[in-house]
């Protein structure tokens, strides 16, 4: 099987290790990975801040970049939610404004093919044991987009439970938002910080070595707070845990 990796702008610029880990996991499972270089950003920050028109060129770019691929895989639930929920809306609004069907067509061509990493592994490949090894205690924070918009359910947990040596501990208040929320983090910094404080207090109460998530934008916020407080816990993307093996353990 051949898939296109949708790395996302945040992973490309700030967390290449997550994108690299995604490639490794997929290749280990016998999947051929392409990285169409025309891809950049899905436009979520612009759209969610109220700049729909500024998002449109990125909708077209993203759809074109992945044209012809049956499976477009990304280690970012919020970018999948952007494509799935908002690309059709952007297209429909453009039609309603009498600006043609190009955007709606772009949305329709991409939406059915986009998969969040855990969806692709569990639903398409039918795999929960990806041959990973990670001898640490881990607590999992399900990001809001994955939890509520995509309905990822127990897919991430099943993948983690199959990792050798990994002890999964329950995160209290797991389903509560960590407070990142894109531009919310700077527009409402005080509330965002208060939400983040509560999240890391819950995370640290588990005593886990690692707080794992599947969305690096949330982990940038949570991990940034953990580091500012010199906490003994690190934030880590699920893909990097799944990429870790006995032969090549994660540093």
């Amino acid at each position: 099987m051949r898939v296109a990796l949708f790395a996302t702008c945040v992973n490309d610029a700030l967390y290449p290790s997550t994108a690299i880990a995604t490639v490794k996991v997929l290749e280990r499972l016998g999947v051929e990975v392409d990285f169409p270089a025309a891809q950049t950003c899905c436009g979520q920050p612009q759209y969610n801040t109220g700049y729909r028109r500024a998002t449109e060129p990125l909708v077209l770019r993203t759809a074109r970049a992945f044209e012809g691929y049956d499976h477009v895989v990304t280690p970012s639930g919020s970018c999948v939610a952007m494509v799935r929920d908002n690309y059709p809306r952007i297209g429909a609004k453009a039609v309603a404004e009498g600006r043609g069907r190009e955007l709606a067509g772009a949305a329709a061509s991409l939406v059915p093919h986009v998969y969040e990493l855990t969806e692709f592994l569990v639903d398409v490949l039918g795999v929960t044991d990806v041959g990973a090894c990670f001898p640490h205690t881990v607590t999992y924070h399900p990001s809001c987009h994955g939890l509520r918009m995509l309905g990822l359910g127990d897919r991430p947990r099943r993948l983690l439970e199959a990792v050798r040596g990994l002890e999964l501990v329950e995160l209290p208040g797991a389903e509560e938002c960590c407070g990142f929320g894109g531009t919310f983090a700077v527009k409402n910094a005080d509330v965002s910080e208060a939400m983040g404080e509560d999240k890391i207090r819950n995370a640290m109460s588990t005593g886990a070595d690692v707080l794992c998530g599947a969305d690096n934008s949330c982990l940038m916020h949570i991990g940034g707070m953990l580091r500012r407080q010199d906490a003994p816990q690190r934030a880590l993307h699920l893909a990097e845990i799944l990429a870790s093996t006995e032969e090549e353990p994660l540093r």
Binding site: A7, D12, G50, N188, V191, R228
Partner: protein, 474 residues
Amino acid sequence: MSGTYLGMPAFPRAARDAVRDTTLRGNLRHATHTIRDKRARAVAELDDWAALREAGKRIKDHTLRHLDRYLVRVEEAVTAAGGTVHWAADAEEANRIVADLVKATGESEVVKVKSMATQETGLNEALEAEGIRAYETDLAELIVQLGKDRPSHILVPAIHRNRGEIRDIFRSEMGEWGRPAPEGLTDTPAELAEAARLHLREKFLRAKVGISGANFMVAETGTLVVVESEGNGRMCLTLPETLISVVGIEKVIPTWRDLEVFLQLLPRSSTAERMNPYTSMWTGTTDGDGPRAFHLVLLDNGRTDTLADEVGRQALRCIRCSACLNVCPVYERAGGHAYGSVYPGPIGAILSPQLRGTGSEIDASLPYASSLCGACYEVCPVAIDIPEVLVHLREKVADQGGAGHRLERAAMRTATWLLDHPAALNAAERLASSTRKLHPKRLPGPGARQWTNSRDLPDLPAEPFRDWWKKNHA
């Protein structure tokens, strides 16, 4: 809306103070977590919740689509049953209609059932200006009124107060309004409720005019429905000679049968009960039972503006259950007052800027008072996609420009240009990576400063992913 909220600061500033108030944070956390867990259990009892929710949503959408027809029908039915129907285009007109009706009775005091619509119009203040005293009779509204406070929650307006604060308010203020608090009043909820019972009982027994809102109006029959817990509603709806109900035009439902949907959705979503203790239904006037005169005031006050917006109109489905407040992480930390409206929380963030427009500082800030986590949409019994409406309203606010938005628009355009030119993007990524040793922990400037106040920035990688890919997979 009420003058009380004019000139409120923007949400982020009001929220900043609330976040630092540890008593308030504790009160809100305790209350919202208690009720959200109870709600989840009450909803889980019904296997057909999703079907009820879908029915509720569709009934509301259908009603809103044909609102003119249903309003005319409710007017006909109420009139035929002995009631009088008045139309109020805005808050001022609603208040004037009510004040004139009260004055015509010769009375100078009224008892009130908890009503969001009359909070919204600032009716109590308007009556006060006409020499009419309005007594709030819902326990929480009483706490708010005696404390010269503002409500902070749709269902439990005094959610920001704990039992000790309530005891202190009762002790110091009750005597000013009527029967004083009993000697030696403690802070147990049972004793506080008893004090309210004694204080209000004399007012109920002598009341000649009652004022209420309504949860539902049935177009087919002209029946009004008030859902409550304490019995103060029944007192105000039953004992006075004159009853005046101020009801938003979106509260109409087509048929008597539709109540079978909403009376299942509302109690479980709001108080997390199978059924609230008391529901009153009345149709016009009844000989020998209850008020001799009934007036219905149909209120627009920005609802038709909301109705005109194809995305935003779904906010009018709201049945004021407050489930969205109780699960909202932002409401839980900022509290209700920060929203600068009688409608706080997620529903307030989409309702206030539509009812009042986005002209004021507070209303322009409300669509951003959310991390878009989606918990509100998940629990809404009429499936209002609050995140969708929030983003839609952000677009409106951004389009009108104003404070900070011009700069933001320029930044967004620049970002889009960069992201639409991968070669330039790659160059920018490389520049950032190569200078990464020079980046300070805390950054100045808008946005960056807020970020680095409480969080470290991620370490920039040695190279962006696209360069790694070129080296390893080309």
